[in-house]
């Protein structure tokens, strides 16, 4: 080899090398493998491989109690589906229910006790300090009035009994419930009857005619079963007639037979006008007239309410009122329902209409909702607002099962200034306007055993078990464990309470039981004992309060004390109110946006496909948009009595001109909504316009 290697030799070496390389498998294998590498990128998770198992459970996200069939891989739920033949849900699940198994891994889930100071800073906290704080408040309480409020977000569960027992054990504690949707309605109903009557529920299943004042029958969560009864008509079960009366054409109005776009805040006038039409048309049934004590007084009251001028402002024609009145009185199975979020006067007017149409105690009408055996009576328990102001040093809030929202301002108002703390047992941390709040991680659906009390579209109640389908997170609590930790005393475990409850049901010897393995419902007493019933419920079955005696209508009064004056005042207010140029109408959010329901995949129907209004958007009619020279997708500013907030404009022809439709509980609108329901804004709203009609102004940002 000569001493120096010349540059040319290196070139020749390289040339030979390249030819050698091309003839070796190296480049081709690297090419092939790099393509395969792009198919198995390590940073993209792979589905687990393992045996597929099926189990059944009950969805506990809302009060519908739908049956769930859970498909698990390697012991972890992979997908949920409705349980065919389930009496409460007949094989359906709503969009939110389908994602119940994702809530466990929601990014904003609380997994260890945290302490939130003045609403924002979060620091980890440990149970000892929390328990110490509660005990300190417990021992320091001297005066007779309770210092600790134990608030149950969803009464009627087995856990509710535990909370009540705690209130009994501790003199300084008192049991309370979150504001119940049907609660206001029940109080109003009770005023009409002399004798004690239970709660009532609308029997949509058998109704042939439904007149709804803005009730979200097919809107979003909890309504899958109702949507099925309303729309999945078969030859045996033709589709009922649905008349929807509400300002904005919601999804229910969209599938309704007729939608009557009334001006917002005038629903009560329409209801009273229909009632008057029934009476003056002498269509009131004799049975109803016999039971009523003040039928003549009602006719006179309605007459001197002088409704026609108010009706003209409602936007509903007289012919339409007569037609509804006639069909209500002719159709034996008919019911009138109102939106749970409707103001008091609409609830009472709708109740009056039901009484006039005689829909109580009738199949397809309003049926009495029996007591859930084994659950304490919570209908007359007080809410947080009933406690006197600044009297509480601790509020214990059990939000392990999502319930109605408690207005944020109420907490600050009820706590002792400066020293009050709120201890909430919740899977997600909803900050509240209080100096110190402790959040103790609660289990979500599928992590721990809980019971579900459901009401079906037919107004029947059921008890089902939400079985644990995935390994529970180490330091999350259910109510029993939480109370055990807080009181330091040994509390009965959830399982024991549930067993007692099932025993109560079994001994009650009332109602039917759905067993997934057998096609038909079997009566309770057909089961050998509590254990047999327990095993059926654990395998996804549920107890349902079976065929009830129709029951007879007791004596009642149309106009209990105070109702007449209240209605007169509201009708006068509606007559006097001047229609605002632009009114904000807050509709219930079909997806219930707060964290308890908002799994990450919900973006598929919100931000990613625009099926539901994205966060921070308001919908207006294209003509209104042109009137305020605001374009689609523009950023605009919405001002409500001086408080301005940035919103995003979406054009939508289902919103009548002159109205701005916003979803409650989401982003900027939530801020406005909290201001609206906040005492300060509410009072400012002019006395004449009903609280649900809020004048606003809108301009391009």
């Amino acid at each position: 080899m000569n001493s120096s290697i010349s540059r040319r030799d290196l070139l020749r070496f390289a040339g030979g090398g390249v030819l050698g390389l091309l003839l070796s498998p190296l480049p081709w294998k690297v090419l092939d493998d790099s393509a395969i590498w792009t198919q198995n990128w390590p940073w993209i998770p792979e589905p687990s491989r393992g045996p597929i198992t099926w189990s059944a459970s009950t969805c506990s996200l809302c009060g519908a109690g739908c049956g769930v069939r859970v498909r698990s891989s390697n012991g972890h739920p992979v997908s949920l589906a409705g349980q065919a033949g389930h009496p409460m849900s007949a094989g359906t699940l709503c969009a939110t229910g389908l994602l119940a198994h994702h809530l466990a891994c929601h990014p904003s889930r609380v997994l260890q006790p945290i302490r939130i100071t003045n609403g924002t800073e979060r620091t980890a906290a440990d149970m000892a300090t929390i328990v110490a704080a509660i005990h300190a408040a417990h021992s320091a309480s001297t005066s007779a009035s309770p210092a600790i409020a134990v608030i149950d977000s969803r009464p009627g569960r087995a856990a509710s009994r535990l909370l009540m027992e705690l209130a009994h054990q501790w003199p300084s504690a008192a049991y309370g419930v979150a504001p119940q949707a049907g609660r206001a309605r029940t109080d109003l109903i009770r005023k009409h009857f002399r004798t004690a009557v239970p709660e009532f529920a609308a029997d949509i299943q058998h109704a042939r005619l439904i007149v709804s004042f803005g009730a979200p029958l097919v809107d979003g969560w909890g309504t899958a079963a109702t949507a099925r009864t309303l729309l999945a008509e078969t030859s045996a079960h033709p589709r009922p007639r649905l008349i929807q009366i509400e300002p904005v054409r919601s999804r229910t109005a969209n599938v309704a037979e007729t939608w009557i776009p009334v001006t917002p805040g005038t629903e009560h006038v329409c209801a009273l006008a229909i009632a008057q039409a029934i009476i003056e048309g002498r269509r009131m049934k004799s049975a109803v007239r016999a039971r009523a004590e003040d039928a003549a007084a009602l006719a006179a009251f309605l007459h001197d309410l002088d409704l026609p001028p108010a009706v003209r402002r409602c936007g509903i024609s007289d012919a339409r009122i007569l037609e509804i009145a006639r069909s209500l009185s002719d159709e034996p199975a008919s019911v009138v329902v109102a939106s749970p979020a409707a103001p008091e006067e609409v609830q009472s007017a709708v109740l009056l209409l039901n009484l006039v149409a005689g829909t109580f105690f009738r199949e397809g009408g309003l049926r009495p909702l029996p007591e859930i055996p084994g659950a304490a009576r919570t209908t007359d328990a007080r809410t947080l607002e009933d406690f006197d102001d600044h009297s509480l040093s601790v509020i214990i809030l059990d939000e392990s099962a999502a319930g109605a929202d408690i207005p944020a301002a109420v907490f600050g108002q009820k706590l002792k200034p400066g020293s009050g703390i709120v201890v909430s047992l919740s899977p997600f941390a909803a900050p509240r306007p209080v100096p110190i709040q402790y959040v103790i991680p609660a289990a979500v659906w599928g992590e721990r055993l809980t019971d579900v009390a459901g009401t079906s579209p037919a107004g029947e109640i059921s008890v089902g078990l939400a079985m644990p389908v995935m390994p529970a997170r180490p330091d999350t609590f259910d109510t029993a464990a939480f109370l055990g930790a807080v009181t330091g005393t040994s509390q009965p475990s959830t399982e024991e309470i549930l067993r007692q409850r099932i025993a109560a049901i079994w001994s009650g010897r009332r109602g039917m039981v759905y067993d997934p393995s057998s096609p038909t419902l079997r009566p309770v007493h057909a089961f050998g004992g509590t254990d047999a019933l327990w095993s059926v419920l654990q395998s996804g079955g549920c107890w349902i309060d079976g065929p009830r005696p129709a029951g007879s209508m007791p004596a009642f009064r149309f106009l209990p004390a105070g109702l007449a004056e209240h209605l007169t005042k509201r009708v006068a207010a509606t007559k006097a109110a001047t229609a605002p140029a632009l009114a904000l109408v807050i509709t219930s959010d079909p997806l219930r946006r707060d964290q308890a329901f908002d799994a990450t995949l919900m973006s598929k129907v919100r931000d990613e496909s625009g099926l539901y209004l994205p966060c921070g958007s308001v919908a207006i009619h294209p003509t209104t948009a042109e009137a305020h020279n605001v374009g689609v997708g523009d950023d605009a500013t919405l001002s409500i009595n001086g408080t301005t907030l940035p919103v995003h404009i979406a054009c939508d022809s289902s919103v009548p001109p002159g109205l701005v439709s916003a979803m409650d509980g989401d982003g900027p609108v939530a801020l406005a909504q909290s201001k609206i329901s906040d005492r300060s804004v509410g009072s400012v709203a002019s006395a004449t316009s009903a609280p649900s009609v809020i004048p606003v102004t809108l301009w391009k940002a």
Binding site: R12, G16, G20, S34
Partner: protein, 193 residues
Amino acid sequence: MKSIRWFVAGFVVMMLFGWVIFPAILYTHEEQPLQFSHKVHSGETVGLPCQDCHRLSADGRFEGVPAIAKCAECHAEAIGSTADERLLVEEYVKKGREIPWLVYARGPQNASFPHASHLIGAGLACERCHGSQGTAESLPAFRRNRISGESQAIWGTSIAGFKMAEWDGMKMDDCARCHRERGVANTCLKCHK
């Protein structure tokens, strides 16, 4: 002719690298978490049938390598004296932890291989694709392709893809050829999931 020598030198060096050194460094050599002797279990000493551990469940899914529960049936306590068995009992059976086996025939994530259709539907024998198993005293080293992350059993032992035996390599082309020979449809939807 001096110039050709360099050319040939370069050629030979690269061919050697491509055919010999590259296959060696392309695949890793990973040992299994613990040794397992098929010979003992399925041979005369214990005489378990293959289907006992490698079961086909009712819904057509193949269990493949058995879960720890299967081992725990016999090995709740140490039976033999080997170190591996002690490791099995302490580390995995007692703690209820699954053994992180490195599965040789682990197919890619995007293709589904329904064992039911092949074992029952087509009546194929396991050896057809996996080669003779169940007689080895110990488990061979798991060889993973450093670039694509797949087991070497997929591409096959020869770097150029020539199949030494029927079971050597289970690439898409191999499956497609067998499907074609038997007149079974080999559309994408048949296997890709």
